[in-house]
Symmetry: C2
Subunit: 489 residues, 2 copies
Amino acid sequence: MSFDLEDGRLQGDLPTTDPETAAGAVGPEDLVLVSGFGGVGYPKRVPEALAADDRELSLSVVSGGGVGAELDDRIVESGKLARRYPFQTRRTSRKAINEGEVAFHDRHISRFGDEVRLGDLGTPDVAIIEAIALGKNWLVPSTSIGHSPSFVASARKLIVEVNHAQPVELARVHDIDLRELPPNREPIALDGPTDRIGSPTIEFDPEKVVGIVETERTDDPYTFRDPTEADLAIASHLKGFLEAEIERNPLCEETVHLQFGVGSMGNALMGALEDIEFGDHEVVYFGEVFQDGLLDSLDSGLLAGASATSLALSEAGQQRLFDDIERYAKNTVLRPADISNNPALIERFGVVGINSAVEVDLYGNANATHLGGTRMVNGIGGSGDFNRNSRLGIIALPATASDGEISRIVPMTPHVDHTEHDFSIIVTEHGVADLRGLSPRERAETIVEIADPSFREELDEYRARAVRGGGNTPHDLETALSWHASWNR
Amino acid sequence: MSFDLEDGRLQGDLPTTDPETAAGAVGPEDLVLVSGFGGVGYPKRVPEALAADDRELSLSVVSGGGVGAELDDRIVESGKLARRYPFQTRRTSRKAINEGEVAFHDRHISRFGDEVRLGDLGTPDVAIIEAIALGKNWLVPSTSIGHSPSFVASARKLIVEVNHAQPVELARVHDIDLRELPPNREPIALDGPTDRIGSPTIEFDPEKVVGIVETERTDDPYTFRDPTEADLAIASHLKGFLEAEIERNPLCEETVHLQFGVGSMGNALMGALEDIEFGDHEVVYFGEVFQDGLLDSLDSGLLAGASATSLALSEAGQQRLFDDIERYAKNTVLRPADISNNPALIERFGVVGINSAVEVDLYGNANATHLGGTRMVNGIGGSGDFNRNSRLGIIALPATASDGEISRIVPMTPHVDHTEHDFSIIVTEHGVADLRGLSPRERAETIVEIADPSFREELDEYRARAVRGGGNTPHDLETALSWHASWNR
C-alpha cells in the first residue's frame, strides 16, 4: 500500500474541482454507484449538485446500504431518481418507491457486490466515493466500506469526495481486499473476525477519475431511540436464552461470535450485552454494522474485538469513537460488505445472529421488509446473510406494533424474507420460542405462546382451524391474510 | 487411510450379526441417523427389522436425503415412526406427515449435518450406515455420502450394513472429510469441483459399534419419467439463455459450473446438455446429485468432471456406471453433503444453478415444497443452498400442473422456500423471465409473459388490481390466495 498518514489527505498533484463540475461528468441516464452504508460514509456534495443540476436526469443510484438526505431526499425530490438499489432508510425515498415512482429492488448484501460486477444491473457508469485520503491510484474510504471496492472496480468513471471532517485515523480500522470474481475465487483467508488480510486503500486506474471534490460536511448518522420496555424485556429473555446456550452449545465452546441487526432494537440489544454472564468465554462481534451499543462492551473489555462494514454510530457515538480512534482501531476492523457478511465466514465462525423483523408467522417465516405485505420499509439488507448462515439464528421483535393494535405474530406473513428453514429462535417480550427440531404444527403451538396475550386466543383459533384442514403446514387460505387485509383497510 | 481394496469388504476380525439382533440395539425412542441420499446408499435390513420389531417403538429417523421403502414405507406402516427429518420422497411417509401422524421438518441440506452435530434435534443415539467395506475403525460408504460423516461422528452407537451388491470400486469415487465444528472451522481447501482433499473412509471409535449386518439387497433407486413436451421446450429456452450468458457473463469466462436439481425435470435438463453450444468453455458439474442425464455428457467428454453427494441413478443408470466404475471414477467425485452443497464453494465456483419448484409468484418467490400451501411433497433439500448461493440462480418449471388446470405461476405463493432475493431467472415452456435489475412491479409484468396463455389475462388483471393499491410489491390481499383456496376446495 502506498498510503502514509503523514503525507496528508491529498497526496500528489491532484486537481480538485467544485461539486457542480464533477456532477457534470455524470450522464443523464447513468448507473451511479455510491459509497455509504449504515447512514455513514456516503458522498454528499456531488449528489446535492446532481439534485440541483439543470439537466433532465434519470439516474439509477446504487449504494451498499443506507445513505443520507443528499441522496435519498434531495435527488428524489428533484425527480431525477429512476431506480434505486438495494437499501434505503429515508421517508422521501420510501414514499417514492411505494408510489411506484422509483423502481427499487432489495438484494442480499453479501452477494450484491458480485451482482454489480457481473453486470446484473447493467454496465456501471460512475462511482462516487467518499474518502478520507486520496492518492494517484488509491483512496481510503471513510466511515463505511460497504461495496465501494466492487463499485470502484466496476464503474467506468470515478468521482471522489475527500472529506476533511472525517478523521484520517479511520485508515487504521480498514482492512480492504477485492476478491477475484468467480469461477477463480479463492477462500477468504481470515482466521478470525479481527484478522487482517488487506490494506486501508481501494486501488483504481487513474484514468477513471473524472472529478475530485473536497468537503467538510459530516455524516447524517443514525439517531437511536431509547430502549423501550419491550426492548428491555426482550433483552432479558435473550440473556437467559444465551446464557443457557453458552453452557451447552459446542458453538460457544471457546469464543462466542455475535451479530446484531441494524437499528434501534439491535442497538438496544448490543447495549444489553454487559448484563450477560459469558463466564470464561471470549466474546467477539462479527456483524455488518458497528453501533453505539458496542462501545461500552469494547471499553469494558467484555468484547475482545469487532468486525463490521460500517461505523453506523449516532453523532455522539461517532464523537466518542473519533476522539479515541487509535485505541478503538486496535480491535475494531471495517471490511468490504461481501466479507463482513460472507456466508462462509458466518458459518465458519459459528455466528449467533440476532436480527429483527416486521412480523413472523406461526410457522417461523419472517417478513423483514414490507408493511401490510406491500409497502417497503428499508430493504432486506444483510439480515438474510446472517439469518441463513448463522448456526444459531435468532429473530427478536416486539409482539405488537401501533400501540398494541397490530400483532407482529400473524397467521401467515404476506411477504417472506426469511423462511422457516433459515432461523430457529424467536424472542419477544413474552418469551423465547425455540423452534429447533419442531415440526410446523409444533412450531405454531410454541409461537402462539410468545404472542401478545390479547392476540393469543385468536391466533390459537386460527391454528386449530388450520389443523382441521390437514397438511404438514396447516393453513386456512380463506382467512390466512384476513388480519392484514383488515389492517390495510 | 487404512483401506485397501484388495483386502475385501470385511477387514479384520469383525463379528457380524443378523438384522433383528442389530435392531435390538436401537432403543424404543431413539434418535436414529441413517445413511442415504437421492434414494440410494441407505440401510435396508436393519430398518426392515425395526419395522417388524415386537417392541413398541417411537423413533425419530434422520437421513441426509431420500431413502427407500424399508425406511419410509415399512417403518411408517408399522406405526413406529414419530419424527422424520429432513427429506423424504415416498407416498407412505408423505401421507403420514400431512395427516400429522409423523412430525416432519425440512432443513437446508448444507447446514443440516451441523445442526445434528450441535444437538439441534437432541442427542443422536444410533447411526445406521450402509457400507461397501468395513474395518475396525473405518467404513467406506456406498452409493451416497450425504451426512454420514456427521452422523457417525455424533451418534453414541453405530450399526453398519455391509452391502455386497454394491461395487467395492465405489471407494474410488469418494472424497470424504469431516469438518471441524465452528468456531474453529477452516475454509474448505478445494480449488475445483473434482479436487480431492479427503479419503474414501469415514472413521469411528470401534467402541461405538453395536451391530454389523451383511446384505446383498440393491438400492430402490429413482425411476425417471421420459421428458415431456414441456420439459423439452424448457430445455430449448434454457439452451438459448445459457448460450447468451456464456458469451457475455464473466462467470462463464473459462469454466461453466453447472448444477441441476433432483428429479425428472432436472434429469431431463441434464440430458439436454449435449445440445448446448459451450464453445471453448470447459463445463463442470458441481451439484448435489448425479443423475442419469449426466452419463452421456461424461462419456462424450463435454463434461470435464462432476461433483455430487449421491449417485441418484435409475437402475439402468446404476448398471451403466457400475459396469465402468473405474473410468467414471477418474472425474466423478462423491462428497459429504455439507461440502457438495457448501455456500462458500457454490459462491467461489460461480455456479449456475438450475432447480425446479411447485410454483412461483408474480414477484419471483418460489414454493418448492407444499401443494396448496399446506401439503408437503418431499422437502426443500439442497435447492435453497443452490438458489441462494449460485451467482446465477434459475428456476425451471412447467407453466401448469394437473393437465393444464392449475397454473404454476400464481399471484402469491402460499408457502415460500426461495424468496425474491434468492434467484434471478425463471424458465417455463413459454420463455425466460430475466429478473435481474427489475423492481417487483417490473418483475410481475415480465413473469406474466411466461405463464400459460390461458392464465395470462387473469394474472394480469390481478397484477393491475394490486398496483392500484400501491406499494413496492403490490398485492390485493383479499384475492391473493383465492386461486389456491378454490383449487383446495
